[in-house]
């Protein structure tokens, strides 16, 4: 068991990366640490590993051996894949080379890289390098594996390769602490999720608790925003090109393919022909519980119908009706809300 008690870390210049963080890691647990950039989650894992000295507080690792997987892989470029995996056992643990290589091949098989044993790391893809990094870690028989954003430097396909390996380790009962930005993955693989904000642990609990019923507002905003695109139009001088760029980026990030055409068209039609600009307008685009693309538009200071208006542009209305599976208008206080579920009949993906 690893016991982190009252850990604080202050960098020169007064930046407080960690404020009184306490955490226990029990055998068999898979803990995901999530949170916005700069929340201190990487500092936490680096302090546990001993790469950084905390300003105060202690990390008690007992007699467990730790291993760490890095965001930048840090494979040894001067050694072949197999040598990367046997260097530690042979030089440090003084295991005979033949034995170490046999075990090394087993590990490479586990991460799916047995055929690359003799390759040099420079010839590997990022995902393969990261899997070498994991196998190298395992070669020292660690009790706990620490992951510092293991997939942040990888594209989607390579992320999937690495997630696969981590998943496999979780199934084998490996104790792990994973710092990650990938919420879906964190939710699937973890037994416990820790949400950090501004150097503190804000909320922790079972994945479904933290993701579905977050107790803290900060957690709720983080999780909601992670999966949403938000933008705002204050007047008719809105920046349509920025909205379009945001929509395209959102679609790319969420692998929504050419859905941006539909989202851009709905946004433009609403802005050009329906919304009355009685006050600021808030757009939110997200995937709803059924994994359907949905939009939520709030027009402030408005109490009259928007889409149901009698003098609506008929072509624009036909387009909206064609693109949306459902459009609901709701009045909440001074604001008029549109709840839209985007039609996926025309999905080409």
């Amino acid at each position: 068991m690893i016991q982190v008690s009252h850990l604080s870390k202050e960098y020169p210049g007064g930046v407080k990366a960690l404020r009184d963080v306490s955490l226990e890691i029990h055998p068999g647990e898979v803990i995901s640490v999530i949170g916005p950039s700069g929340c201190g989650k990487s500092t936490l894992v680096r302090c546990i590993e001993g790469l950084e000295a905390p300003t105060s507080g202690t990390v008690d690792t007992g007699d467990s051996r730790l291993g760490m997987v890095f965001q930048q892989f840090n494979v040894f470029p001067h050694l072949s894949v197999l040598d990367n995996v046997t260097l530690g056992p042979v030089k440090i643990n003084r295991i005979p080379k033949a034995e170490a290589e046999k075990k090394g091949m087993d590990l490479l098989r586990l991460v799916g890289l047995a055929e690359k044993a003799q390759a040099m790391p420079d010839s590997l893809s990022g995902g393969q390098k990261q899997r070498v990094g994991i196998a190298r870690c395992l070669s020292m028989n660690p009790d706990v594996l620490l992951f510092d954003e293991p997939t942040s430097a990888l594209d989607q396909t390579m992320k999937t390769e690495v997630f696969g390996v981590i998943n496999e380790l979780a199934k084998q009962g490996m104790t792990m602490l994973i710092v990650t930005h990938e919420l879906e993955f964190a939710r699937k693989v973890s037994t416990r999720v820790v949400f950090m904000h501004d150097g503190e642990i804000c909320e922790e609990g079972a994945p479904e608790e933290v993701f579905e019923r977050p107790q803290k507002t900060l957690t709720r905003i983080f999780i909601r925003n992670r999966r949403s695109l938000l933008f705002q139009a204050d007047s008719r001088e809105y920046d349509l090109y920025k909205f379009n760029a945001d929509i395209e980026w959102f679609c790319q990030r969420n692998h929504l393919g050419k859905k941006y055409f539909t989202l851009e068209l709905i946004t433009e039609e609403l802005l050009s022909h329906f919304l009355p600009f009685t006050g600021p307008i808030h757009f939110r685009i997200f995937l709803n519980e059924e994994k359907k693309l949905a939009m939520e538009i709030e027009q402030e200071n408005c109490s009259s119908p928007i889409v149901d208006s009698p003098d609506a542009d008929e072509i624009a209305l036909m387009i909206l009706q064609g693109l949306c599976a459902s459009i609901q208008e709701v009045q909440e206080g001074d604001s008029r809300f549109l709840h839209i579920v985007v039609n996926d009949v025309y999905d080409q993906d």
Binding site: L240, F261, E268, S272, A316, I319, G322, L323, Q348
Partner: protein, 102 residues
Amino acid sequence: MEVKITEQGGTMTAAFIGRLDTPASLDVTREVQPLLDHADRTLVLDCKDLTYISSSGLRIFLTIRKAAAAKGGKVIVQDICDDIRQVFMMTGFLNLFEVRNG
């Protein structure tokens, strides 16, 4: 957004290049004036390089069609992409225009 108008025989071709959204439609309305002036001929709306169209753009197409109908011309929409074809379909434009792909 750019509109290139060429004339060959009795046919006038307008090539639409880029995104025909609301901000662009103001300029485009002006630029298609020659088509409205010669609406008695065959007018080809070349959409090969048109990547996006909103209701404002469709309205311009509709204006051209109306002018042609009044002067006895003919409008052909040529080479529309799948996304725009969907829009044409949901607005009924597919029935209003002669659409040729190829």
